[in-house]
Symmetry: C2
Subunit: 320 residues, 2 copies
């Protein structure tokens, strides 16, 4: 049966089995002082990445090897993000197709031995419109909204104009709509489509119309994919703990989630939820850091990882 099927799948006209190069790209996330950071190579706004080679046993091991070689940082938790294969990806080289398999990795900065050529960058440097912890950033209504409306009104027919306005309103929470932090990727893609980010106007002499650092090739899009994935995942799986030190206070945990989500959380409800699901257990020690009453230290209960898909561990993200 195996053989018959193989024949069927390969002996077909038009099936020139062209070869491609595979690029492995990593979005490595860690927290630094309540800022969500991504690992880049030096100051180049480039994510760690490299070609898949024969010596790599698997995609994951290839990725780990590249990240470790380029940044000196060993990886723990990783998860596949997406496989991109835009033909116009690397610009002009059309003779050889390159597909890019991206991964999300969660670690802690301390795990890095030497700073070496690596560099931690707050991801809000690349997406300043994504941080709503201190309220909606002024640029959303001052810059993005008018530019997006301008873009929408530039459409040929009225249906498209309405459609564009609606998409922008949903993605960015215009017109009394709620802000949805999970839509980070859609927002970036919308700005790209509206040619408001630098990547969409490569080759142009005009300055990028919207503030926010750009990245090499499609790396900012990959980063946006990672952010969106992480933001939605922390709501139903206890992955935040990959970013936490062995012992932490509940407030530290809350600040971490807030940093990732880019919005504030209701304190008591957050604590109630964490305790309800028995995600943590007390270490017995207390933290005496800042002024005020000392906080109990907790550690993650690794057992919960084996207790199934932690149903309904929804994090109570506060509303507007």
């Amino acid at each position: 049966m195996d053989d018959r099927a193989k024949r069927i799948r390969t002996n077909r006209p038009g099936g020139k089995a062209d070869t491609v190069k595979v690029d492995l790209t990593a979005v490595v996330v860690a927290l630094s002082d309540n800022e969500p950071c991504v690992l880049t190579i030096g100051q180049t706004d480039t994510l760690p990445s490299g070609p898949l080679a024969l010596e790599h046993r698997s995609l994951q091991s290839g990725l780990r090897a590249w990240v470790e070689e380029q940044t000196g940082h060993p990886l723990g938790y990783i998860e596949q993000l997406y496989t991109f294969a835009d033909r116009d990806r690397a610009g002009t080289e059309l003779e050889q197709r390159v597909i890019s398999i991206s991964y999300l990795a969660l670690t802690r900065k301390e795990h890095a031995a030497a700073p070496s050529r690596s560099c931690w960058q707050s991801w809000y440097d690349y997406f300043p419109w994504e941080d709503h912890r201190a309220g909606t950033p002024p640029m959303v209504s001052d810059v993005l909204r008018p530019r997006l409306i301008e873009w929408a009104d530039g459409a040929d027919d009225g249906a498209t104009r309405l459609e564009r306005r609606r998409r922008a309103a949903i993605a960015f929470g215009f017109d009394e709509r709620p802000w949805n932090e999970d839509l980070a990727l859609k927002r970036y893609e919308l700005l790209y489509e509206a040619a408001l980010v630098e990547e969409a106007m490569r080759g142009s002499v005009l300055p990028p119309p919207v503030r926010g650092k750009s990245m090499v090739a499609d790396h900012r899009r990959i980063l946006a994919t990672g952010i969106a994935r992480l933001r939605s995942k922390i709501k139903y799986r206890p992955v935040v703990f990959e970013l936490m030190p062995p012992a932490f206070t509940l407030l530290q945990l809350q600040r971490t989630v807030e940093a990732l989500a880019g919005r504030l959380i209701h304190k008591s409800n957050f604590r109630r939820l964490i305790e309800q699901h028995e995600l943590v257990e007390e270490t017995g020690d207390t933290a005496t850091e800042t002024g005020g009453r000392p906080a109990k230290l907790y550690r993650f209960r690794h057992a919960v990882l084996e207790e199934g898909e932690v149903a309904g561990a929804k994090l109570p993200l506060a509303r507007g």
Copy 2:
């Protein structure tokens, strides 16, 4: 900046940029008479698939081309599933690595013009333990449980034995644990690890210990990935409607979701939820099919797709 980064990413020792072949594989799902079906090629237990070729503009278009050529079935909604690159995937051919990019597609059987070489197979033929609509299938406690316990007890040290037992109990809902339909992939991987499915014992002369048709290469694993993705996705995004005819009754809709989830739904709660979220609107007609009071016909409100990520559209799947 683009150029500098490109140099950094490619001029590195050990970076032999080996080329690979890319295989595109589709899990095409449709409903037939309240059975969730997957599109296969003839009777070969093979998913539609083919190599990515230069003439394909993108991964998606390549996939569409292959599926249409092999089955005559045009695709509507598709979504990327996962990229596999097991070195031992295709068996023995180690000189050329093959990675497999898989997609999930949702359609309706009627869309196919001619039956041609395609064939719709109930996915429960491949995963008989996944259908809990008529209660937990006997094979779960009669076959799977003893075999998995046997496998667990075959481990060297006690810790691994406990760990295996726990994993099995979580995945299959042993020991009073609830059944979680979303874990379809974990269940298959567990059975594979325990060498209880045919794919895990290729080359052996022994018969497969667990009932359920196998598929070519790793296609059953890809199918399991698709099932798991679809089962979890119907809970927060209105993708079911891709599988529905233009007009349908609420009961038909419920039966469809039940078929996908492999478990029953509480009727009134289901209707309440659908109406609450305004996912559908009445067509004005009624269905006079079976005996009993005629049911109102509804159509999907496509507007909701543009109303953001349909927050909390959780489907009320009934408990034990």
